[in-house]
Amino acid sequence: MGLLTPVRRPFRALSETFVPETVEMGDPGWARLFEIAEAALRTRPHGVQRQVVLLVRALDGLAFMRHGRSLARLDPTRRRRFLESLQRSRLLLLRRGIWGLRSLVFMGYYARPEIHAELGYRARPEGWEAVR
């Protein structure tokens, strides 16, 4: 079982908010995103792994308390505003938490070579020879 399996739905909802293009992503894309994010988490201490899962659950619960819906059922605009408000929280812990989850999602999405091609990222070992 993957580290994020217990929070797969809310984590996917968070991903769709952080990187809206993921909404269009098929199953292989999601599988790769989770694979990269979980591989990164596996290199971290168990305590950090538990904290990440706990944080996703806490955000899901907070969304329910505030809006009466879980993250996955919240409409995209309200979900984005909800997360933006947390990112501006007075609590450093919350701001750090959002920053960390955002980084994990960005890694899962932007580290993939197929996305590099879409972005027009051209860095190659051949350098100038590849573009001239």
Partner: protein, 509 residues
């Protein structure tokens, strides 16, 4: 536990350890045995692919994601054969006189640091890149500086045969960067120095290092260790520690040392930095060509330095503020992005330090002083003006809210970028110039070592890396680290006869 004896053991193979290894290697002709222990792997030909995550995992501690204790800054430091010299951009500056003299370390003069730095600059092929090799990202910085009234200066670089991959920070796939992995360590090995990779030194006791050699995991990059996996006890007449500001401080903190060193781990500085991007209306060459050819130095006057830079998609995404459609739109503009790194010249202050947790792992405590925040804000304002003067249509500035500044707001930069928007935990701050923790000075009351890297009251233990800096250097530290390592070696040579008297390895070479 396996036991070995050496005359000299060096911990770390970066700018400090690699230099020490080379400079001590002639002693092998006198029959001495010298060992270098490197925590990271030795990468093989063809393994430097330039792919972001796999190279970061292979070359950096925690894949480049080492977080400060407060969780508000990411520290990047190498963990491979050659240490951080394998992952920096090769910028090679000589320490300013005002800094070295300002440190006030007895016996340490700027003239000495300069002369040694120049020797290593020559050895590592430091020179200026020719005009034809400068990419748009750097050219626009020069043009923007000129138009905005700033002075851009060219970086001397230690490269040979650079093809302009722009992948320096992921380990040059063409081995063009002349770090210790390319110059000093191979020379040391040719002279008979033994280098053992995947060898983590867990603690030091009286003339003894406890070392854990780890197995290469399936799928992991790099050669297996030169030694069989397992626990080792290395006896050495002289120990030179060069594991970097974090590694060396943490190692000494978890060691059972005979001297009292109240300053150990203190005085940590790191030049906290932001990555800023400016979006141009057309594609530019940013991800091809050497990424860091120019800088603008306002350290003395305003406490900051700007450098050109180019980062990879994930690092760029992480360093832009926020998320959602605005963030995505900027990422989709990647081929049009100009990038500038803004660095604050922080000072050694109480509380910013290296410690270890209960498991002995390093922990870096770092709080932003008002001076650092002001310097980052001033630097951001200057960078924004440079971007806009160079023709950018908008600028992403982390300490502006909202972070995008349009060209039409050029006259409102001072108002838009402000200290009140610097919110730790929301904006990304990175640091790659890690310094201090074992600062040089007079006595154990004010420092950890003397001006030759000799740990106070422990003559057999030397330090030879950036942890020696009593305060921030305000420039890229590598040449200065090499110069200080060279000084430490002079001290070792001078004291070797006494320290090694009666000390001979009892094993055949």
């Amino acid at each position: 536990m396996n036991e070995h004896r050496y005359d000299i053991a060096i911990v770390g193979s970066g700018a400090g350890g690699g230099t020490a290894a080379q400079e001590l290697s002639p002693l092998i002709r006198d029959g001495l045995r010298i060992l270098v222990l490197e925590q990271g792997p030795r990468l093989l030909e063809g393994e430097l692919t330039g792919r972001e995550i796999e190279m970061a995992d292979a070359l950096y501690t925690d894949g480049g994601g080492f977080l400060s204790a407060e969780g508000t800054m990411m520290l990047a430091f190498g963990r491979t054969y050659g240490g951080s010299t394998a992952v920096y951009t090769g910028t090679s500056l000589i320490a300013p006189e005002r800094i070295i003299e300002g440190w006030g370390v007895p016996g340490l003069t700027h003239e000495d640091v300069r002369a040694r730095s120049e020797r290593f600059a020559s050895q590592n092929n430091v020179h200026y890149l020719d005009e034809a090799s400068i990419n748009d990202n750097n050219r626009l910085f020069v043009e923007g500086c000129r138009a905005a009234g700033y002075e851009a200066r060219q970086f001397p670089l230690n490269i040979k045969g650079c093809r302009g991959s722009s992948l320096c920070n992921l380990g040059c796939p063409n081995r063009a960067k002349q770090g210790t992995d390319q110059v000093q360590l191979p020379a040391a090995e040719r002279n008979g120095v033994e280098v053992v990779t995947r060898a983590e030194v867990t603690r030091i006791e009286d003339h003894a290092l406890y070392v854990r050699v780890t197995e290469k995991r399936p799928g992991e990059k790099g050669a297996p260790s030169e030694w069989a996996p397992g626990e080792y006890r290395i006896r050495a007449g002289i120990v030179v520690v060069a594991g970097g500001a974090v590694g060396t401080s943490a190692l000494l903190l978890r060691s059972d040392l005979p001297a009292r060193l109240p300053r150990l781990g203190e005085g940590f500085t790191c030049h906290p930095a932001h990555i800023l991007v400016g979006e141009h209306p057309h594609d530019i060459t940013n991800d091809v060509g050497h990424p860091k050819s120019y800088y603008m130095d306002r350290a003395e006057e305003e406490g900051y330095v700007l450098e050109t830079c180019m980062y990879f998609p994930f690092v760029t995404a992480k360093n832009l503020s926020g998320f959602g459609p605005g963030h995505s739109r900027l990422m989709r503009a990647f081929p049009r992005l100009q990038m500038i790194l803004v660095l604050a010249c922080d000072r050694a202050v109480s509380g910013n330090r290296v410690s270890v947790d209960r498991g002995g792992k390093p922990v870096v405590h770092y709080r932003y002083t008002d001076e650092v925040i002001t310097a980052l804000v001033r630097a951001t304002r200057a960078a924004a003006r440079i971007f806009l003067a160079a023709g950018a249509v908008r600028v992403h500035a982390p300490s502006a809210d909202p972070p995008l500044i349009e060209a039409t707001e050029a006259d409102r930069v001072d108002e838009r970028v402000d200290e009140r928007h610097f919110r730790p935990g929301t904006i990304s701050v990175v640091a790659a110039h890690l310094m201090g923790g074992c600062g040089m000075g007079r006595t154990a009351a004010d420092s950890v070592t003397d001006g030759w890297g000799r740990v106070h009251d422990i003559p057999w233990l030397r330090v030879a890396d950036s942890s020696l800096f009593p305060d921030a250097l305000q420039i890229n530290p590598y040449l200065t680290v090499m110069a200080l390592a060279d000084r430490a070696v002079d001290g070792v040579r001078r004291d070797a006869a006494d320290l090694l008297d009666g000390w001979r390895p009892d094993e055949p070479a």
